[in-house]
């Protein structure tokens, strides 16, 4: 039996959510904008989804804007807050989508300032002085390194300096942390469905009541004029349902994932015995639960992923890259890894549906595969 341990990239849709999705499509739920009963029914489903999501983050429904992806929600927030010559503050460990937005801003003449990180990927906020017009784009828990950041520190820093808009990416964090919008102190929070065992193709931007959104796509006034395009009602409902279930089971899931991580760590033993080095935080309480990341200096991350796939274990490198490229992971470089190590990153991320036996087998497969590849490398470099 194959083991799926790439939940940080997106979990399979859970059956209850798939059932709801199918039921809504079968019911014929369509365009919620119209003057007839069918549209009103769709509108009611959409309103309920929005209200459920709002309730989870303790905001008003009108603060929730649905988008087709978390990347789009990030872009929408930036488009609303960042002017052409404005200042953007972010980190080198952000995921590719965020880095691309920062690069585009810089190319257009804007200023980009990077918050450095320590070897675990945690923000180094000492000496950071945001200006009134500084817009920050930060990920609460990095999917690549699994490091959970100190939200209270960034909040205090931003309040004290009266910095500009604070945009936080909570796509990974929303599955495992209680996130109340006002407590976080963000101006915008990005959440997505795919990492919550919900469908892909739906995400949302939660914004403070005083923020005005500038739409990326002008259209027929949908989403209060913030995003053109007919709302994907069944997807929104499925997203809300997945979030509700995740929220209800949050503590149990966290405990379950901690247990899986312990089993995996114990079965694997010291990573160094397999030629691996741990990345992210050594302190498991400062990591996303169920998240394990390593680097190997003797293989490309893509090759390790391929070999493990062949051995029946589905994992990833953790950094979305052009297929098969040799580009080192910028996040790993920012954490002080060598270029060879930064090309050899892997991430094993368990989810709610994994069991203890799978965690144990995943460790055994990882150990055996590393041993085989390292033996191959040894033969290759010592043969004439």
């Amino acid at each position: 039996m194959r083991i799926f341990a790439d939940h940080a990239a997106g979990s399979p849709v859970r059956p209850e959510v798939a059932d709801l999705l199918a039921a809504l499509y079968r019911e014929g739920i369509g365009n919620p904008n119209g003057g007839h009963a069918e549209a009103r029914r769709a509108r009611a489903v959409l309103d309920e989804a929005r209200a459920n999501i709002a309730d989870t983050f303790k905001v008003e429904s009108r603060q929730v804007t649905f988008t087709a992806s978390a990347s789009e929600a990030l872009a929408l927030a930036l488009n609303s807050e960042l002017r052409g010559n404005g200042r953007l503050m972010t980190t080198a460990t952000e995921h590719r989508g965020a880095r691309a937005l920062a690069a585009r801003h810089e190319a257009a003449g804007g200023a980009v300032e990077l918050i450095s990180v320590d070897s675990s990927g945690a923000w180094r906020l000492a000496g950071i002085t945001p200006r009134r017009d500084t817009v920050a784009l930060l990920t609460i828990s990095s999917g690549e390194l699994g490091t959970e950041q100190d939200l209270s520190a960034i909040r205090a820093l931003w309040r004290e300096a009266e910095g500009g808009a604070l945009i936080l990416d909570a796509v990974q964090a929303a599955a495992s942390q209680r996130l109340h919008f006002d407590e976080i102190g963000a101006d915008h929070l990005v959440i997505g469905s795919a990492k919550l065992e919900g469908p892909t193709g739906i995400a949302a931007l939660i914004s403070a009541p005083d923020r005005r959104l500038r739409p990326l796509v002008a259209g027929g006034g949908q989403e209060r004029g913030r995003r053109g395009g007919t709302e994907a009602v069944p997807l929104a409902a499925a997203f809300a349902h997945a979030l509700l279930l995740a929220r209800r089971e949050r503590e149990a899931t966290r405990e379950h994932l901690r247990a899986l991580s312990n089993v995996f760590d114990e079965a694997l033993g010291a990573p160094e015995t397999h030629g691996l080095r741990l990345t992210g935080s050594i302190d498991r309480t400062k990591r996303l639960p169920g998240h394990h990341s390593y680097v190997a200096s003797w293989a490309l991350g893509d090759d390790l992923v391929a070999a493990l796939d062949h051995a029946g274990l589905a994992i990833s490198t953790g950094s979305a890259c052009i297929s098969g490229s040799r580009e080192p992971s910028e996040a790993l470089v920012a954490c002080g890894r060598s270029l060879d190590e930064a090309r050899g990153g892997i991430r094993i991320s368990f989810g709610r549906t994994n069991n203890v036996e799978e965690a144990r087998r995943a460790a055994a497969i990882t150990a055996a595969t590393c041993a085989r590849i390292r033996e191959g490398v040894r033969v290759e470099t010592t043969s004439p």
């Binding site: 893509d302 090759d303 391929a306 062949h310 297929s323 098969g324 490229s325 040799r326 590849i373 191959g376």
Partner: protein, 382 residues
């Protein structure tokens, strides 16, 4: 020589008698697609890979017929999906740069003609990829869509390449650098088929690549303009003299690395009879030209001369039919080894325009007995 064209002591490769774990290099073209399909149907455990060899892969295909764009990777993935085999992209950029790109640039800058496909087959496809296939997937063999067959010695210890049934498509010339061990681990499922049979096999199976046109160009020079590649690699073309065989200056050129021996195009010299590049001296940046017949050679000096089983000892003589170009004419002759990889090819009939750097192979019947590179000495001592 037997009726099959195999020299005595050599046998046709035996049919596989058990299921093997085979890595197939899928290029995204029809040949490797069919090769993979045949292996799957024969009951082997097949792993499909597409090799990322250079950054030309990042460019959009734009309708070009190259095997190394991401579109080609998509085609390879679709075929793997149709065949229900695992598919992975393998990065071999570093190996490709060392074995193919750098020698390619170095050859032109040194006045020689490179053989990039030979280096790629020897060091990348049947070199590094074999190691990766074994280490990552436990594969014991690597298969490609090359048109070639294999022959094994009667004692089963040594392997040679054998020409493909389809003589027009035979690719043993490009594979000559494979050692006996590499040939033992190579699989060429298309060796017994003609191109039209392969095309038909792809159509019959509904493979996504069945109607894909042939790729002809050097894969990392998708626009066919190797000179612009040289420029990106630091080549600064210098104007130089074109001289005739008596040393008289008859014209100028815009950079000797832009020419190869046997080239006619781009020579702006007066005269009625066609002239061809007969020698290139990168040190003086001078190109020598001559009439067509002046480029004929009966004696060619080789470096790196070897059989699949290793270097030839001094004094060894091999008889056979020599070829200096893919699909070029062959000429009967003998290869006389001086040891150390140096050898002289003595031909009964001349071959035209042997170009230093290019590959020479010697066939014994249908088997490829030896190969090497035309050395610069050929042009100088002509």
């Amino acid at each position: 020589m037997t009726a099959s064209g195999l020299p005595s002591g050599w046998l046709a490769e035996p049919e596989a008698t058990r299921s093997e774990r085979v890595l197939v290099a899928l290029s995204g073209g029809v040949d490797s697609s069919v090769a993979a399909a045949l292996l799957v149907e024969a009951g082997h455990q097949v792993v499909g890979v597409w090799m990322r060899l250079h950054d030309a892969a990042d460019r959009v295909d734009g309708g070009r017929k190259s095997c190394c764009t991401l579109d080609a990777a998509d085609d390879a993935r679709r075929v793997a999906d149709q065949l229900k085999i695992p598919f992975h992209i393998q990065n071999l950029e570093r190996e490709f740069a060392a074995a193919v790109l750098e020698p390619f640039v170095g050859a032109y800058l040194g006045g020689e003609t490179p053989s990039p496909c030979v280096g790629c087959n020897t060091a990348v496809k049947f070199g590094a990829l074999v190691g990766k296939g074994s280490a990552l997937f436990g594969c014991e063999a690597v298969a490609t869509g090359h048109y070639a067959r294999r022959a094994v010695s009667a004692d089963g210890e040594s392997w040679r390449l054998r020409t493909a049934v389809d003589q027009d498509k035979d690719q043993t010339y490009f594979l000559h650098g494979l050692s006996s061990e590499a040939i033992a681990r190579a699989r060429f499922p298309l060796g017994g088929m003609t191109k039209s049979e392969v095309r038909e096999a792809a159509r019959k199976r509904g493979l996504a690549t069945a109607e894909k046109p042939e790729s002809q160009e050097i894969c990392f020079v998708p626009d066919g303009d190797y000179r612009s590649l040289l420029r990106t690699r630091g080549w600064e073309p210098q104007r130089g003299e074109i001289v005739d065989e008596k040393g008289r200056v008859v014209g100028v050129h815009e950079g000797s690395a832009g020419f190869t021996v046997g080239q006619r195009r781009g020579l702006e010299v007066a005269g009625d009879t066609p002239r061809y590049v007969s020698a290139i001296d990168p040190r003086t940046n001078r190109i020598t030209i001559g009439r067509r017949e002046s480029l004929e050679r009966r004696e060619i000096t080789l470096s790196g001369a070897a059989t699949p089983s290793g270097e030839l000892p001094a004094g060894a003589v091999l008889h056979g039919a020599a070829r200096i170009r893919h699909r070029g004419v062959t000429a009967a002759g003998r290869l006389v080894s001086s040891g150390g990889g140096i050898a002289t090819l003595q031909l009964d009939d001349p071959l035209w325009a042997p170009s230093p750097g290019q590959t020479v192979v010697l066939y014994e019947g249908e088997t490829l007995a030896a190969g090497g590179q035309i050395s610069a000495a050929t042009a100088i001592h002509a």
